[in-house]
Every structure is written in structure tokens, then in C-alpha cells.
């Protein structure tokens, strides 16, 4: 167990190093980072002054050393737009993004898991057909389009929910629904197909041959095995929602990390973009680590390193 954890931790650290390298290289791969960050009207003198101030004239290795030593303590320099340190601004936006992603996840899990399980146990039934239809719809409707339609109908027409911002509890409903819908679809399909697969396993026949009650077989033998693939989907999707809710946040003007990222790209605020990219990577890696731990908790084969 300990060895498993340490190896996963080691992998995450290696990956994080890779992300840092990539983030560092991205700005410099086109040649002169100053031309990327400054406006086109900047005079050559201003450019040179900027380069000197940002340290872009130093050898690459020196720059990388400086970048890394800053990154380790969360220092990515000052935001070019706000002139204040970048990382605290990112952390400032974290609660909003967490709230949105978590609400979306809860919605997706609470609706998706039962629907998928019921569908898997009763394939072809009435509920199964509804579940499959919903899953297909959730996964295939483009959610930026759905977001606009919902704003049009529920905010403008019916005035049930605010169309943008983060004020009262109602604000989170529409963005969370739109963000969670495709995830719900995926959970339904995953849960359904896992149940169908595991129901046909030999060890379920063994459980039946012991004369166990249906309920015991479901809860003890089927659900726990279904949980293994489900946990991985949920873990990956949660990471995706935390880092990938950019256009949902943009459409609903949700003051989270995604919105900040969209804005900072527009402002060519590279220190801020870098801080956001690295921070999101850390969050996703931490989530993956958590997912791996949950795995080990459910599946003894992983726990004992088989």
C-alpha cells in the first residue's frame, strides 16, 4: 500500500515537473516572449526595457532556474494587467470554481449513478430507455449552445434564474447543470455497462449458487465491483470540470478560474496564464492521486500490489 502510494506520488511529481517545463517553454518557443506580451504599438525602447525587467535577456538556463525556484513557492511574478502577484489572484478565484464544479459533480453523480445502475439491472426497461436517452442527449448536446438556450428561456423568458454572476444560490443552478450534464451522461453509460458486464461474471453465478438474496448479491458482489470503473470516471471528470469550465464560466460570467484564464489570455497576461496553468495541473494531479487511493481502498489487488 505504502509502496503503491509512493510510486503514484512520484509519478505525479514527475508529471508536474513536465507541466512546469512545458509552461516555461510555451512562452519562449516562438522566440521573443516580449513580443507576445507587449502590445504591437510598443516602441523598441519600451520592449527592451520590458525584456530587461522580466529577465528575458538572461541565458535560458538562468531563466528556467528562476522560474522553477519561484514556481516551487507559488511565485509566478506579478500579473501584467493588475500589477499584483499572480498566484493569490488565482487562489482568490478558486472557491467559485470549486463551488461550480462540485455542484455539477454532485448533480451528475446523484442523477447518473442510480439511473445507470437501474438501467444495468433492467436492460430494455422503461427507466433504462429514459436513462439511455438522457445519457445520449447529455453527451451530444453542445453545452455552450445549451447554456445560451437556457439563459434565453429560464433567465430572460421565465426569470427563474439569474443569467450571469455569482450572487445567490440560484446563480449556480444553470452553470452547474450545463457543466454536469455531459458528465452525467458518461456516468450513466459507464454504470450501466459495468453492471451488465459484472452481472454476467462467473463469481455472480457462484454467489447465486450460494442461495444469497438478490439484494445481497447486488450490494456486496455487483456494486463494489462496479464502483471501480465509476470512481475513475468521476475522478477524471471532476478534474476536467475544475480545469475545463472555461467557456461555461465565460458564458455565465462566473467569477472563477476559467473566466480569469479566458480574460488573462485576452490581456496577454502571461504570468497569470502560467500561474493558472500550473495551479490547474496541481489540482488535477492531486485529484488523480486521490482517485488512485480510492481505487486501492476498493480493490485489494491494487492494495497488495498485484
Amino acid at each position: 500500500m505504502q509502496r503503491y502510494f509512493l510510486s503514484k506520488l512520484g509519478q505525479s511529481i514527475l508529471l508536474l515537473f513536465g507541466v512546469l517545463l512545458l509552461v516555461f517553454a510555451m512562452v519562449r518557443v516562438t522566440g521573443d516572449p516580449a513580443t507576445l506580451m507587449m502590445s504591437r504599438q510598443a516602441s523598441p525602447e519600451d520592449m527592451e526595457e520590458f525584456r530587461e525587467r522580466m529577465g528575458f535577456n538572461d541565458p535560458l538556463l538562468v531563466q528556467f532556474g528562476r522560474f522553477m525556484s519561484g514556481a516551487i513557492v507559488g511565485d509566478f511574478g506579478n500579473s501584467l494587467h493588475f500589477k499584483t502577484p499572480a498566484m493569490p489572484m488565482v487562489l482568490d478565484r478558486l472557491p467559485a470554481t470549486l463551488q461550480l464544479a462540485f455542484t455539477a459533480l454532485v448533480f451528475a453523480v446523484v442523477i447518473g449513478v442510480p439511473l445507470g445502475l437501474i438501467g444495468g439491472f433492467n436492460p430494455g426497461s422503461y427507466i433504462d430507455n429514459i436513462a439511455r436517452g438522457l445519457a445520449l442527449l447529455g453527451q451530444s448536446v453542445p453545452n455552450f449552445w445549451l447554456a445560451l438556450i437556457m439563459i434565453l428561456y429560464f433567465a430572460v423568458e421565465l426569470r427563474w434564474f439569474p443569467s450571469f454572476g455569482r450572487d445567490e444560490w440560484k446563480s449556480v443552478v444553470m452553470p452547474a447543470f450545463v457543466l454536469g450534464l455531459p458528465v452525467m451522461g458518461q456516468i450513466v453509460r459507464m454504470a450501466r455497462s459495468s453492471v451488465l458486464e459484472i452481472r454476467g461474471e462467473d463469481y455472480i453465478r457462484t454467489a447465486r449458487s450460494k442461495g444469497l438474496e438478490r439484494r445481497t448479491i447486488y450490494t456486496k458482489h455487483v456494486f463494489r465491483n462496479v464502483a471501480i470503473p465509476l470512481v475513475s470516471v468521476i475522478g477524471v471528470q471532476f478534474g476536467y470540470m475544475l480545469g475545463g469550465s472555461i467557456y461555461i464560466e465565460a458564458i455565465f460570467a462566473w467569477p472563477g478560474m476559467g473566466q480569469l484564464l479566458e480574460q488573462s489570455i485576452g490581456w496577454r497576461d502571461f504570468p497569470l496564464v502560467q500561474a493558472l496553468a500550473v495551479f490547474t495541473a496541481v489540482v488535477v494531479l492531486a485529484l488523480n492521486l486521490l482517485t488512485d487511493m480510492t481505487y486501492a481502498f476498493i480493490d485489494p489487488r491494487i492494495r497488495y500490489g498485484k
Partner: protein, 331 residues
């Protein structure tokens, strides 16, 4: 001697998208108290489906038991039982051992848990009470360090050891009958011998009747008292082991016995096989299912389904041809 199980004219079909699979087409046999009956036949001959359909273990749908009765302990018809009654019989009075011990145990539950489940269900024990019994059972099936192994998971066992665990589950509630569905097929030859020995020892110690499903006639001689040979979802021949090996009456049995490789044959020759392929079960049976592959088939074999007739004491055969006489059987 009383009968543990008496099956009469069992018919099981599977309604699939390709058509109706006639898996079992009228099978009758019985098993006496403490007796071991081997059911022999090639893949698709209906041996497993016969046993699984008696206990509601085939997937329904597409499977459906259409006819027959299965009297258990001379009292109740298994096929008429409610699901709850059947659950009490399964595991409680009839134990099961399946073919592949790698896939028959749940990978994420300890073996102690998987054995005690059946005790909790049928003997009303608490988990703690069951624990002592499980350790006793593990000792009985020859698993070393049962105290430690109680908490182990299936993947920590070898195939042979897993099969011992499955056997421990089967005998946990001291059943009247154990159905062993090719219990040695997935194991190494040396391990096969150990499992057969273990089975014999437990059978004699517990006085339990066994139905041993196999396609290995070599194993049958060592463990069974009587043999039912199945072909195309029908019984071909039923006889004591001695009668069957000494004077087989059905051409299929003769072919099966002829196909056994012998260790003591001196000249090197090709392995013998029965020509042709097993019957297509999608076609409803209208004549002897073996007629296509039979060297002795004559007109009548293509017109009627041969019934099971008694040709000696406890020796039944479903064939119109009398091999000893060298011509059609009378009547």
C-alpha cells in the same frame, strides 16, 4: 436407498436472436443417496445446462425450462419451487463447484467472507460464529494456515487452492448433493489428481451425493459409480461405470472410449476421434441426434428419436442398433 434427485423428461430451450436453441431435449436420470453420478458429453451436449436449469441458474430469459420435473429428496419438485424456496436449497442442500476457479471467486472479497456468506444465509450464523466453521472448512479442504488464509483474497491463491476454496463453499452447509461442473478441467494435470482425491475423501466423509459433470472419461472411472452419457441434449446411455467401460451399447459411447489416448499402447498412432461435428441445436430434433456421425445408422435412425430402453440391470441406452447382434434391435 432413497433418491436424492430424480429428473424426468427435462426440456430447456434458449430463445436467442438466431433462433431457438434446443439445449436439453428430454433428459431423465436419478441420483441415489451418497452416490456419484458422472455426466459425460462433449461441449454443447447439454450437461451443464441440464444441471443449471434445475436450480434456476441459467439466464432467464433467454433460457426457459419448458417441461419436466426434478424431485429433490423424494419430496419437492425443484422446478415448481418459488425463488425463495430455491434459494434455500441452493447452497444449503445442494452445493456447487464450477469449472474455472480463477473467475468463480469475487476478486475483491476475502475468501473468509465468501465462504461465511453461505453459512450466514443458511445456518443463521453470525459472522463471528461462521469464522470458526470457515477455518474448520479450510482445514478440511487442505489449505495450510487457515487462520491467516481466512483474510486472504482470491488472487493470493493458486488455481488449485482456489478450487479448494470453492469446494469449501460447496460443502459449508453439509449439503445432500454437490454438483461439480467440470471442476478439474481448468487445472493442471497434477492438481487435477489432487482435487479428485480431495473430492473422494470429502464425499466419503460426508456421505454426500455428487453429480460430476465432465468430458474426461479418464477421470470418471476413478470417481463415479454410474455414468450418464449425453449427446445433443439427450441421454445416450446410462450405466454403471463397469458396464459402460466393459460393454458400451451406444455407438457414441464406443467412439468416446475409443478416443481415449492410452499410455500403454506401444505403437505410435494418430489420436482417434469421432468423425463429424456436434449437432446444430437450432434445428429441432426429429430423429436420432447422432445419426449423422454414426457408422451403424439405418432408416429408422433418420425417422424416429430413439427412446431410452433398458438393456441390462440399470443399463439404459437410446439406440435402435444392437451392436452385439450386429443388426437393428427388436421392437
Amino acid at each position: 436407498m432413497s433418491k436424492v434427485l430424480e429428473v424426468n423428461d427435462l426440456v430447456t430451450k434458449f430463445y436467442t436472436l438466431d433462433g431457438v436453441v434446443n439445449a436439453v431435449n428430454g433428459v431423465s436420470f436419478d441420483v441415489e443417496d451418497g452416490e456419484t453420478l458422472a455426466i459425460v458429453g462433449e461441449s454443447g451436449s447439454g450437461k451443464s445446462v441440464t444441471m443449471m436449469s434445475l436450480l434456476g441458474l441459467i439466464p432467464m430469459p433467454p433460457g426457459k425450462v419448458e417441461n419436466g420435473e426434478a424431485i429433490f429428496m423424494e419430496r419437492q419438485d425443484l422446478l415448481q419451487m418459488t425463488p425463495a424456496e430455491l434459494r434455500d436449497v441452493r447452497g444449503g442442500q445442494i452445493g456447487f463447484v464450477f469449472q474455472d476457479p480463477i473467475s468463480t471467486l469475487n476478486p475483491i472479497l476475502t475468501i473468509g467472507e465468501q465462504i461465511s456468506e453461505t453459512l450466514v444465509k443458511h445456518k443463521g450464523m453470525s459472522k463471528n460464529e461462521a469464522r470458526d466453521r470457515v477455518i474448520e472448512l479450510l482445514t478440511q479442504v487442505g489449505i495450510p494456515d487457515p487462520d491467516l488464509r481466512y483474510k486472504a483474497y482470491p488472487f493470493q491463491f493458486s488455481g488449485g487452492m482456489r478450487q479448494r476454496v470453492v469446494i469449501a463453499i460447496a460443502i459449508a452447509c453439509t449439503p445432500k448433493l454437490i454438483i461439480a461442473d467440470e471442476p478439474t478441467t481448468a487445472l493442471d494435470v497434477t492438481v487435477q489428481a489432487q482435487i479428485v482425491d480431495l473430492f473422494k475423501r470429502l464425499r466419503d466423509a460426508l456421505g454426500v451425493a455428487v453429480i460430476w459433470i465432465t468430458h474426461d472419461l479418464g477421470v470418471v472411472a476413478g470417481i463415479a459409480e454410474r455414468v450418464l452419457v449425453m449427446y445433443g441434449g439427450r441421454p445416450a446411455e446410462i450405466a454403471s461405470v463397469k458396464d459402460l467401460y466393459e460393454s458400451p451399447k451406444h455407438p457414441y459411447t464406443v467412439g468416446l472410449l475409443g478416443a481415449l489416448p492410452r499410455l500403454d499402447s506401444r505403437e505410435s498412432k494418430r489420436l482417434v476421434s469421432i468423425k463429424g461435428a456436434p449437432p446444430d441445436l437450432l434445428i429441432p430434433l426429429a430423429h436420432c441426434p447422432f445419426a449423422w456421425r454414426c457408422d451403424y445408422a439405418f432408416d429408422r435412425c433418420w425417422e424416429e428419436i430413439p427412446p431410452l430402453i433398458e438393456v441390462g440391470v440399470g443399463h439404459h441406452v437410446a439406440c435402435f442398433y444392437d451392436m452385439e447382434k450386429g443388426g437393428p434391435r427388436n421392437g
